[in-house]
């Protein structure tokens, strides 16, 4: 009896020790994870001398805006350009530092990819899960196989295709392949499987059209999935770099990721300037993330429930 008690007590001590130890480790790791961001932000305000010194300044001894000034004075681009198809008319916004335009392009690209992906994937995922049609299994297998396909595989054909479609060097050349990526269909399909067949049967007997059944019955049920997909797509397209690298060339068409990558190629070791670009690229999305943190985590989690 007492031996067992001893054992338990020992176990408790051990468990306490383990707990304390893991908290220390996780805190250290958290610091390590936050450090790059800290380094970006402080680095962007450091002087050239502080950046290049062999002894790093953990906290900038002098805060300067030089790097941002350099970043914004480098190149200019109109804030927006809107071309009316089949005409010569182009509306251009006021001239802005190119980096601002890049940010705007990235936002547009991410939002457009997100919206298009959600719409197409919601419909397709629903059809795959709930409609019995010929070729369904084949399509689904194709989707599963293509899901992990890196875009580098289809690099050259895709580039030539975009050239033929006259989409090369437009933001759409980046958006369409993201929308075509079938992960979203897969995700929504998993959700849609949970829609009870009876509900759809009932709707059919009531004489509801296919579209109405989808819109009124299925859509509300797969909404959490769409939320998850929306966040997932937004972040993936925000972080995407490869398609942009291949498809975009004009200064006014770049995205912020590509812009920083170019900054780095042109200015090799001017890390202050590069960090200013990195800060500009990351701060907005981090703010959005922190503000909507609850939805983010919820959205991300939703995806796995049915995974």
């Amino acid at each position: 009896m007492s031996e067992k008690g001893n054992h338990l007590a020992l176990g408790k001590v051990r468990s306490k020790l383990y707990k304390g130890f893991s908290i220390v480790v996780i805190t250290l790791l958290a610091i390590a994870f936050a450090f790059p961001l800290y380094w970006i932000i402080t680095g962007s305000f450091k002087t050239q001398a502080a950046i290049n010194s062999v002894t790093p300044q953990w906290w900038p001894s002098e805060w300067v805006m030089d790097n941002y000034q350099k970043l914004f004075s480098r190149q200019v681009a109109p804030l927006w350009e809107c071309h009316i198809p089949f005409t010569q008319v182009t509306f251009a916004g006021p001239e802005m530092p190119a980096a601002v335009r890049w940010l705007l392009n990235t936002v547009f690209m991410s939002l457009a990819s997100m919206v298009l992906t959600c719409i197409t994937a919601a419909m397709a995922g629903y059809a795959l899960a709930k409609k019995r049609f010929a070729g369904r299994t084949l399509l689904f297998s194709l989707i599963v196989c293509a899901m992990a396909l890196p875009k580098q595989v289809i690099l050259i054909p895709l580039l030539r295709e975009m050239a033929d479609l006259h989409l090369y060097n437009t933001i759409w050349a980046v958006i369409y392949p993201i929308v075509g990526w079938p992960f979203g269909v897969f995700l929504i399909k998993q959700f849609a499987e949970g829609i009870p067949g009876e509900m759809m049967e009932a709707a059919r007997i009531d004489g509801a059209s296919e579209w109405k059944t989808f819109y009124l019955i299925a859509l509300p049920m797969i909404k959490p999935g769409i939320g998850a997909l929306a966040i997932f797509t937004f972040i993936t397209s925000w972080n995407d770099y490869f398609m942009q690298l291949i498809m975009l060339t004009s200064t006014s068409n770049l995205t912020i990721s590509l812009g920083i990558a170019k900054l780095q190629a042109e200015n090799a070791t001017d890390f202050g300037l590069i960090m200013a670009g990195a800060a500009l690229a990351s701060i907005p999305i981090i703010i959005v993330f922190l503000v909507f943190q609850k939805y983010f985590t919820k959205g991300i989690t939703m995806g796995a429930v049915k995974g």
């Binding site: 383990y18 480790v25 996780i26 958290a30 994870f33 790059p36 961001l37 380094w39 970006i40 290049n52 062999v54 002894t55 298009l116 197409t120 419909m123 397709a124 059809a127 409609k131 019995r132 010929a134 369904r136 196989c145 293509a146 899901m147 992990a148 396909l149 580098q152 595989v153 289809i154 690099l155 050259i156 054909p157 295709e161 369409y176 392949p177 929308v179 992960f183 296919e210 989808f214 972040i235 972080n239 770099y241 990721s257 590509l258 990558a261 070791t269 590069i274 670009g277 990195a278 990351s282 999305i285 981090i286 993330f289 922190l290 985590t297 991300i300 989690t301 796995a304 429930v305 049915k306």
Partner: protein, 298 residues
């Protein structure tokens, strides 16, 4: 009898039409920007194709050459190293981190969760450039800390040294990969049936047994999902390599993804690049299929 048959046929018709109608928008994009280029890719892989010249049919020559190309084989190996190292580490680490964080409860838990998610939202390019600075041979922070604490005898050229470059790439990949799994695991753990856990504890199960026998089974679906997204993530690590090392030094960080790009735009060998793409696609398709089959049977 006859009537019923035609009825059901009408139903089948209706299902098929509706099915394809719903699939249509997605199929336009999927076929247009994934399947069609993939077919093109397969066709061109049998040609000697380069810039501004008619393609020359060469049969399986590209494929044969590939398996004699030591750089390609090295790239294949590196690709697998990246996937094989990062996927398990991400899963195990994030599970461990999630259990620790989960125990903290409340706002502390969500702060930690946020911090580990930060590298994901910071963006791959921004993360890469800051790591490039930290790894810098001459004034990177790693060398400074290493030499001043006595861990390193002399500066290490992290990204320029064959022995370390791939490890550095994987390290960065890890930091950008664990955010999502941790969030997923934390929420999966909170969905674990607590009464079962308590019952087991009363029965004298150790912490480990408790975890393995009860929690693990319940978070299995999450684990599978994490495996899929981490694998996808690891195969997509192009930006890291292009910006950090360009595949060097001495091709030690080449992955197939980067080597395709390298062949296309540095060596102008489109056919050869496409052939590699086909091989990679087949490998990935098989992996996905296997993974999917496993998930199904589980």
């Amino acid at each position: 009898m006859k009537k019923k048959n035609s009825m059901s046929r009408a139903l089948v018709m209706r299902e098929t039409v509706a099915g394809y109608a719903f699939m249509l928008p997605s199929l336009v994009f999927f076929i247009g920007f994934v399947i069609y280029p993939m077919i093109q890719c397969i066709i061109t892989s049998f040609f000697d194709s380069t810039m501004n010249r008619d393609d020359i049919f060469i049969g399986f020559q590209n494929y044969i050459e590939m398996f004699h190309d030591s750089v390609f084989l090295g790239a294949l190996k590196n690709t697998f190293i990246i996937v094989v190292v990062s996927v398990p580490i991400v899963c195990i680490f994030s599970l461990w981190a999630a259990t620790v964080i989960y125990d903290l409860k409340g706002p502390v838990c969500s702060i930690f969760r946020c911090i580990f998610y930060l590298p994901v939202v910071t963006g791959s390019v921004a993360v890469t450039v800051v790591w490039k600075w930290m790894f810098n041979n001459y004034y990177g922070i790693f060398n400074y800390v290493g030499t001043h604490t006595g861990i390193l005898n002399q500066n290490i050229n992290w990204l320029g040294d064959e022995r370390f470059a791939l490890g550095c790439v994987i390290l960065i990949l890890l930091t950008t990969s664990v955010g999502q799994p941790i969030v997923l695991y934390v929420s999966a753990l909170s969905n674990v049936d607590q009464s079962l856990v308590e019952a087991a504890e009363v029965d004298g199960a150790t912490r480990f047994q408790c975890f393995w026998k009860i929690k693990w089974a319940q978070i299995m679906p999450t684990t599978l999902y994490i495996l899929i997204i981490t694998m996808i993530n690891s195969f997509q690590c192009f930006a890291l390599i292009q910006l950090l090392t360009s595949g060097g030094p001495n091709h030690s960080t080449d992955t197939i993804m980067y080597y395709i790009y390298y062949n296309a735009f540095k060596l102008y060998r489109y056919g050869y690049g496409n052939a590699m793409g086909v091989v990679l696609a087949v490998i990935i398709a098989v992996l996905s299929a296997v993974q999917f089959k496993l998930a199904k049977t589980d």
